[in-house]
C-alpha cells in the first residue's frame, strides 16, 4: 500500500508533516464542490422547469415577468393549438418515419461492419480500417456532398435525410470493440469446426449475443436521428416532408428573428399573435423534448457504457 503511493504522489512528504491539517480544507472543499454542483444542476433544471410552467401560464404573466416558481393563470391554450396543428403533426409523423428507417439502416450497417472489422483474421483489415479512419480527419465538405446526393436523385426524398449520415465511425468503433471483447475466438473456431460459415456464425451467434450492443446502438442512433435537422434543411424543399426539428426551427427561431427585427413596427396589431406565439413556443419545446427527457434515467446508463466502449479503443 505505502509503496504504491510513493511514486504517484511526490508531495506525500508535505502531507506527512501535517497529518491532521487536511481535515478542515477537505470539508471546505467538499462543501464548495457540493455548492458548485448544485448550482450547475440548477442551471440545467431551472430553465427547463421555467419553460414547463411558462407553457401553461397566462402569456401576459410570462411577458410581465410574474412567473417564477409556479404557473400563473393556468391555461392550456398553447397545447390546444399545438395539438390541433396539422403541420406539427405531419412533422412529428415524418420524424417518426425518418428516425425509424434511418435507425434500422444505421444499426444494421454498423453491426455487420463492426463485426467484420473485429475479425483479426480478416485479410486487409488494417487497410480498410485505415481508409475508414481517414474520413474522421478529412471531409469533402457540404457542397460536394450535396452534389453527390443530387446526382443520386435523392433530393427532396426521405433517402437524402436517412442515408448521408447512416454510419458514424465512432459507433463502428464501439461495435468493433464490443465484438472484440465479448466474442472469444474459440467460439468461432468451434462453430467453424461444426461447419458454420461466417454468415451463419454472424446471424446465429454474434447477433444474438450482441443484444446489449444493439440496444445501445439503437438508442444512440434514435436520439441522433430524432434531433437531426441539417440534412432536412439542405436536402428537402417540400414543407410536407419536413421533420419535426425543422418545423420547430421555423416556429421557434425564424419567427423570433422576425419579431426582433420588427420591434420598431406597430406593436398593437401584433399583440395578440405575439401573446399566443410565446405560449406556443414554450409548449413546442416541452412537446418535443419531454419524451426524450423522460427517458433519460433509463437511457443514461447505456449511453455511459457506450462512452466507455468508445474510450477503450483508444
Amino acid at each position: 500500500m505505502t509503496s504504491t503511493v510513493a511514486s504517484p504522489a511526490p508531495d506525500g512528504t508535505t502531507g506527512q508533516r501535517r497529518p491532521f491539517a487536511n481535515r478542515v480544507p477537505d470539508r471546505a472543499f467538499n462543501v464548495l464542490s457540493v455548492v458548485t454542483l448544485s448550482i450547475a444542476a440548477l442551471a440545467i433544471l431551472y430553465p427547463l422547469y421555467f419553460i414547463v410552467i411558462a407553457s401553461v401560464s397566462d402569456p401576459g404573466a410570462v411577458v410581465g415577468g410574474r412567473v417564477w416558481l409556479l404557473p400563473q393563470g393556468f391555461t392550456l391554450d398553447g397545447y390546444e393549438r399545438i395539438l390541433g396543428d396539422a403541420a406539427i403533426w405531419r412533422g412529428f409523423a415524418n420524424s417518426v418515419l425518418y428516425t425509424t428507417v434511418a435507425t434500422a439502416i444505421s444499426v444494421s450497417l454498423t453491426l455487420a461492419g463492426g463485426y467484420v472489422l473485429s475479425r483479426r483474421d480478416l485479410p486487409g483489415r488494417r487497410t480498410i480500417t485505415f481508409f475508414l479512419v481517414i474520413t474522421l480527419f478529412f471531409d469533402g465538405g457540404i457542397i460536394p456532398r450535396y452534389l453527390v446526393v443530387q446526382d443520386l436523385g435523392m433530393l427532396n426524398t426521405m433517402w437524402a435525410v436517412v442515408l448521408p449520415g447512416a454510419v458514424a465511425i465512432w459507433n463502428l468503433i464501439i461495435a468493433r470493440s464490443f465484438f472484440e471483447m465479448t466474442l472469444p475466438d474459440e467460439l468461432r473456431e468451434a462453430a467453424q469446426l461444426d461447419g458454420a460459415g461466417d454468415f451463419r456464425f454472424f446471424f446465429t451467434m454474434a447477433v444474438p449475443l450482441a443484444k446489449s450492443l444493439i440496444i445501445l446502438l439503437t438508442m444512440i442512433y434514435t436520439v441522433w436521428n430524432w434531433n437531426a435537422f441539417f440534412e432536412a434543411l439542405i436536402y428537402l424543399n417540400d414543407p410536407d416532408k419536413y421533420p419535426l426539428q425543422l418545423v420547430l426551427r421555423n416556429i421557434l427561431i425564424q419567427s423570433d428573428i422576425a419579431s426582433t427585427g420588427n420591434l420598431t413596427g406597430d406593436l398593437e396589431s401584433y399583440a395578440e399573435t405575439q401573446r399566443i406565439g410565446e405560449l406556443i413556443k414554450y409548449g413546442m419545446i416541452v412537446f418535443s423534448t419531454l419524451p426524450l427527457l423522460a427517458a433519460v434515467p433509463f437511457l443514461q446508463k447505456r449511453f455511459q457504457k457506450g462512452a466507455l466502449l468508445g474510450a477503450v479503443k483508444n
Partner: protein, 336 residues
C-alpha cells in the same frame, strides 16, 4: 461403410490428419508465390465477411469518398452537365477570389475567435465537473448530479437554440426579467453582434458539458482506488489528490479529447452558428462554414463555395496534425 472397408487401415489416420492442415503446412517450402496464393485463398475463403462489410463500405465510398473526389470542383467551374470530372479547369482562381474578397478577413477572424473562445471556455468545464463529482461521498447526490448534468445531451441543438431565443428574448425572456429586476436595461441578445459569441459558448457549455463529463468520469473510475486510500493515509488533502492522482490519471483521455476538439475546431457547432444567426448579428456570426452554406446552397455558387469549404478542411487538418505532433512530443497519447 464401403469406403472405409477399401481404404488400407494404416493410411486412414494420416489422411484425416493432413486434410485440414495441408494448406498451411505446405507453405514454408515455397516462396512468395505460394504466400500470395495462400493470401488470395484466405481472401476467397473470407468472402462472406466481405459481403457483410459491403453495405457499410458502400456507405463510406458513396457519402464520404465520392464527395472527397468531388472536391476537385474547387479547381473547376462546376456545371451540372459536365459533372465533377469534365467541368473546365480553372486552377486556383476560386481560392484567389476568396482570399482577395472583402469578407475574407472578417470570416477568418470570426471563425478563429468563435472556435478559440468556445474551446478555451467549454473544454475545461467538463473536466472540473468530473473531478468534483468524482470526489462526492454521497452516492445519491452523485447519481443525481450525473443524471441532471447529462440530460441536455438528449436535447437537440434546435431546441437548445430555441430555448436561448425564448429565454433571452428582450421583451418576455426570463434572463431579461432578471436583468430588469436587478435594475439594468434589457439586452437584445440575439440582435447585438457582440452577444453572439457569449450566447454560442454559453449554450455549448449548457448542452455538451455533461456528455464529456461522463467520459472523464469513466476515465476516473479506472484509477486504482488504492492510490487514493494510500494518499489519504499519508495525509494528502482532497485538492492534493486531485492534483497528483486524478489529473495525471485522466491526462491521456484529456489529451485525446483535446486533439479531437482541435481537429474539429473549425467544423463543430456550425449548425448552431447557423441557427443562432440573425440578420442583425451577422457581422460576428458569419463564419467560414455558414458562408459556404450561404454562397453554395442559397446562391448556388458551387465551385466557389467548395473552394472555401476545402480551405476550411485543410486548415482543420493542419491544426489537428500540429496538435497531434505536439502531444507526441510531450509524450501524451496522440490520436494518430
Amino acid at each position: 461403410m464401403t469406403v472405409r472397408a477399401t481404404a488400407p487401415s494404416s493410411t486412414t489416420a494420416p489422411i484425416v490428419a493432413t486434410a485440414p492442415v495441408g494448406g498451411v503446412s505446405a507453405t514454408p517450402a515455397a516462396g512468395t508465390r505460394s504466400y500470395r496464393r495462400r493470401r488470395l485463398r484466405n481472401v476467397v475463403r473470407a468472402w462472406q465477411l466481405y459481403v457483410l462489410l459491403t453495405p457499410a463500405l458502400l456507405y463510406f465510398v458513396v457519402f464520404k469518398f465520392w464527395p472527397m473526389y468531388g472536391v476537385q470542383i474547387a479547381f473547376r467551374n462546376f456545371n451540372p452537365v459536365d459533372g465533377f470530372l469534365d467541368s473546365p479547369w480553372v486552377g486556383a482562381a476560386h481560392f484567389e477570389r476568396f482570399f482577395n474578397s472583402f469578407q475574407f478577413q472578417d470570416l477568418v477572424e470570426n471563425t478563429a475567435l468563435l472556435a478559440i473562445t468556445n474551446l478555451v471556455v467549454a473544454f475545461p468545464v467538463p473536466i472540473i465537473l468530473a473531478l468534483l463529482v468524482n470526489q462526492l461521498t454521497s452516492m445519491r447526490f452523485k447519481q443525481f448530479t450525473q443524471t441532471v448534468l447529462y440530460a441536455p445531451t438528449f436535447i437537440s441543438t434546435v431546441i437548445v437554440v430555441g430555448m436561448a431565443f425564448v429565454l433571452l428574448s428582450p421583451r418576455s425572456g426570463l434572463i431579461n426579467h432578471l436583468l430588469v429586476l436587478t435594475g439594468s436595461d434589457p439586452i437584445f441578445f440575439m440582435a447585438e453582434p457582440e452577444w453572439f459569441r457569449p450566447v454560442y459558448v454559453g449554450t455549448t457549455v449548457w448542452q455538451e458539458s455533461g456528455f464529456n463529463m461522463v467520459v472523464y468520469l469513466a476515465a476516473l473510475a479506472g484509477i486504482d482506488p488504492n492510490l487514493h486510500e494510500a494518499a489519504k493515509i499519508d495525509g494528502a488533502s482532497a485538492l492534493q489528490r486531485i492534483r497528483h492522482i486524478d489529473l495525471p490519471g485522466i491526462m491521456p483521455v484529456v489529451s485525446i479529447l483535446f486533439i479531437l476538439a482541435v481537429g474539429n475546431l473549425l467544423n463543430v457547432g456550425f449548425e448552431k452558428a447557423l441557427l443562432l444567426q440573425t440578420p442583425l448579428n451577422v457581422s460576428e456570426s458569419q463564419i467560414i462554414q455558414t458562408y459556404v452554406y450561404q454562397t453554395g446552397l442559397q446562391e448556388a455558387q458551387f465551385s466557389y463555395s467548395a473552394a472555401i469549404g476545402l480551405f476550411n478542411s485543410v486548415l482543420n487538418l493542419a491544426l489537428l496534425l500540429t496538435f497531434n505532433w505536439v502531444a507526441r512530443r510531450f509524450k501524451q497519447n496522440a490520436v494518430i
